[in-house]
């Protein structure tokens, strides 16, 4: 069994109003960054997990997203990073 660190990104779906992103957008504009076209705020979730292989860890991450970490009505998700943790395995 190996140990992996997963980085999962969850973000508001395109077209969905993101009030936080909008507020930050206005703040950036008022600070002088006129070129800002859009801001969306999502979240990153870091999970350390034991799995047989990298592929198995990715499958677990996908299942976690579908079951709990993202709401398919409002959010998209992606596993944006995976690395094997040295020395943590059995």
């Amino acid at each position: 069994m190996s140990h992996f660190r997963l980085e999962i990104r969850v973000k508001p779906r395109p077209g969905l109003l993101d009030p936080q992103g909008k507020a930050i957008h206005h703040a950036l504009n008022s600070l002088g960054w006129d070129g800002v076209a859009d801001v969306r705020v999502g979240k990153a979730i870091y999970i350390d997990v034991a799995a047989e292989s990298q592929q198995a860890a990715l499958e677990v991450a996908d299942a976690m997203c579908r079951k709990l970490l993202a709401n398919p009505v409002t959010e998209d998700y992606e596993v944006s990073g995976i690395s094997e943790l040295e020395g943590a395995g059995a």
């Binding site: 508001p12 109003l17 009030p19 936080q20 709990l68 970490l69 709401n71 009505v73 409002t74």
Partner: protein
Amino acid sequence: MKVAVVTFPGSNCDYDLYKAAQQVGAEPTFIWHRERGLDGYDAVLLPGGFSYGDYLRAGAIARMSPVMEDVIAYATKGGPVLGICNGFQILCEAGLLPGALVRNSGLKFASKDVLLRVERNNTIFTSSYTAGQVLRIPIAHGEGNYEADRETLERIEEGGQVVFRYVDSAGDTTDDANPNGSWHGIAGLVNEGGNVLGMMPHPERAMEDLLGSTDGIGVFTSLIASLSALAS
């Protein structure tokens, strides 16, 4: 009439709901989220609050509670389920109601009285009202902005699933009357079977003249009347 008031860590309207049920002559029982079994209850009520601190998404973690498996089974069999505020969020997360509740469009927590129009009085939750009646009921939420994809919105509108909408004093849906940016001013809706109602406003806080409004009583008298009619 036996009603279950399901409580989660962070529920804070559970006693209000308990008292509201008592006020209309029902016999409420608290069910802790780790308990199992809802057989023998005539209705299940999910209270407002901030279960699990609204971590991840409002209602997302409460939805995984052991008791929710029973709530889903109960609702699927046609049992009456009412979710208020956080209870509504949990019902959406559980897939018992379509759509989702996201951050208020103004980003602020909204705590005030709002006006609601009763869209339908032919539900088990609204039979004590008249269709088109305008109610004054408080809201208290940061994530009450009802969102769904276009197809879902069309389906719930065509199916007449919207039960309450935010309106102004003339009874019209306007941007100013909408406290959170909800699509079509949706404040409450039922599932296709009509046995599950979710609503952001708090009828259980509008049960006494002393507290400013008694317009919420109708939700509970409707439910009791419907259950009595079923039982007889």
